[in-house]
């Protein structure tokens, strides 16, 4: 899980991106999604996630959209952020997934 974080300077400002393997037994499921979106909302940056490098990119602060993506276990989740605190936001969200949402791989 040591994929390199990349920082891209685009016309829209600084975009920070990273990716992390979802190891939770039921994927980005109800409880993990609540934690993920609540954490995302604590940052000012625009944050998006995708289940693959080609997108589609969806708003990481919307639980409706995050759940609708139905990210299964073992997905390489792509996270990118743009704007204030972008780097901190990506770091924190990737770390949450790495910590398996602070729960053992249990039910969902």
């Amino acid at each position: 899980m040591n994929e390199m974080k990349e920082t891209i300077i685009s016309s829209g400002g600084v975009t920070v991106a990273d990716k992390i393997r979802v190891t939770h037994a039921t994927g980005l499921h109800a409880r993990p999604s609540v934690k993920f979106t609540m954490l995302a909302k604590t940052f000012a940056a625009d944050i998006e996630i995708a289940a693959g490098p080609e997108g589609p990119w969806i708003d990481a602060k919307s639980i409706v959209k995050v759940m609708a993506t139905k990210v299964p276990k073992d997905t390489l989740l792509h996270v990118r952020a743009n704007g204030a605190e972008a780097e901190a936001a990506v770091l924190a969200l990737v770390d949450l997934v790495r910590r398996d949402f602070d729960e053992g791989s249990g039910g969902g």
Partner: protein
Amino acid sequence: MSEICLQGLPAAPGILVGTLHAITSAMENRSRSAGDPAAELAALQSAIDRSIGDLEELASRVAGDGADILAFQIAMLGDEELAGPARREIGLGRAADQAWMAAMAVQIADYQGAGDEYFRARAADFIDLRDRVLGHLAGKTETSTLPPGAILAADELPPSRFLALDWSQGGAVALARGSPTSHVAMLARARGVPMAVGLGAELLRVAGGAAQPREKTAAIDGGRGVVVIGPGPERRAEMSALKAREDEARAVAATYRDTMAQTQDGTRIRVLINVADPAELAGIDPALCDGIGLVRTELLFHGHRALPDEEAQFAVYRRIVEWATGRPVTFRTLDAGGDKPIPGLTIANESNPFLGLRGLRLSLVRPEIFAVQLRALCRVAALGHVKVMLPMVSQPGELAQARAHLDRAIADLADAELRHARPALGIMVEVPAVALTPGRFAADFFSIGSNDLTQYVLAAARDLDSVAAIADPSDPAVLRLIAEMAEHGRAIGREVSLCGDAAADPVLIPALLGAGLRALSVAPQSVGRVKAAIASVRLDGAGR
């Protein structure tokens, strides 16, 4: 009045006889006329806000899983995106309730169509949210109470409604629809509330809606997914006997729960479980057993219009492997034919189906179906300790052909860059030809199917009452073959287990262990009894 027996799916174990109490969804016969869009928007927002208030109030009273589910629902309602499509519809002149229902219908359909069962089960949460907001739009406040010890009957039961009810005085749940993996089933298991789901529309027709309440007694067996409406005296006696037996089995199982099975003189015996449906694993602690010795995959192939595709199989296999948390799981490839016909797959009207195209023989003439199953199994093998077992092998050539199919499935998965692993490939020992000359079969492990082995050795059909006394697994000829298989396994260092009914028979267990077997696979509810029987066996002096 005669009794009506409804068969559904088990969702939470437990037996209860009580009064049937039907509740209906808030969805029925409601429509408001559209006011001006601004008023409708305000009405919708107010209904959503009040719903969030309800859920927060509820969340302050519950803990654990219940609180997590409510937090999820609150987060959903609090997300502007959820009502976005409804707001646009209202802008076009629709009434708030119609717009909300249409928007939620899209969400519900999206989840109902999900490939992953966990996500599919979330549709019930959206139905819950839909109905709660609709209730507020109609100005209706929720006043559902359940008499103590009643059996709640409903189409579906939203988790928030389950949590709002008081279960401390007993009670059970019977649902016409629903899923064993829904949030509400999880809650019922955690609280020890018996629950059966998928009982069909018949349930509500018989139970009567809230509009026409009729006093009805019913008996529910959540562990078997059965509800009997209007049980007669005999059925009541049978249910209370079952309950007594279940309570006793639970007590025995509790005694042996986390202790590994061993004989009186200290020989360790591995006890595994037989499973046909992941739903059976609900509420069972994996620590009870040493793994799963037999997953019957036939069930997947029943009741479907089409055969299950690779993704559908993978999803089910994955649930089983994840439950096992590192313990070995032995999947038996499709064992259709014989007494298990599958329309459109097995050959109809064979004159003697037990000697016909069944088990692996059928898979080898339908390689396109076999390949899909092998691919799904190799993929799930990457997620845990997975073994694959072939049924009804009679000649070494069949095993070689199956291994070639497995090699091809692995090569295909590698080409497709799908995560996979090579599972151990073993065979069932059911045909006397295998038991007599096991050395010819290059299998990674052997599992004796005592039901079939017995019927083939003694030429007595297992499904005929008239010859049942002849089909005796403790016949010296059968026990000798079992002993020789066990000896063969020891000599070449390969595992030999037994997964037929004989393994769960306390009378036969001493003979099976005496024959040299050290691994038995039995139904989950038999584990306690089997461990108890093993504990009373002495092998020193009983040796062969």
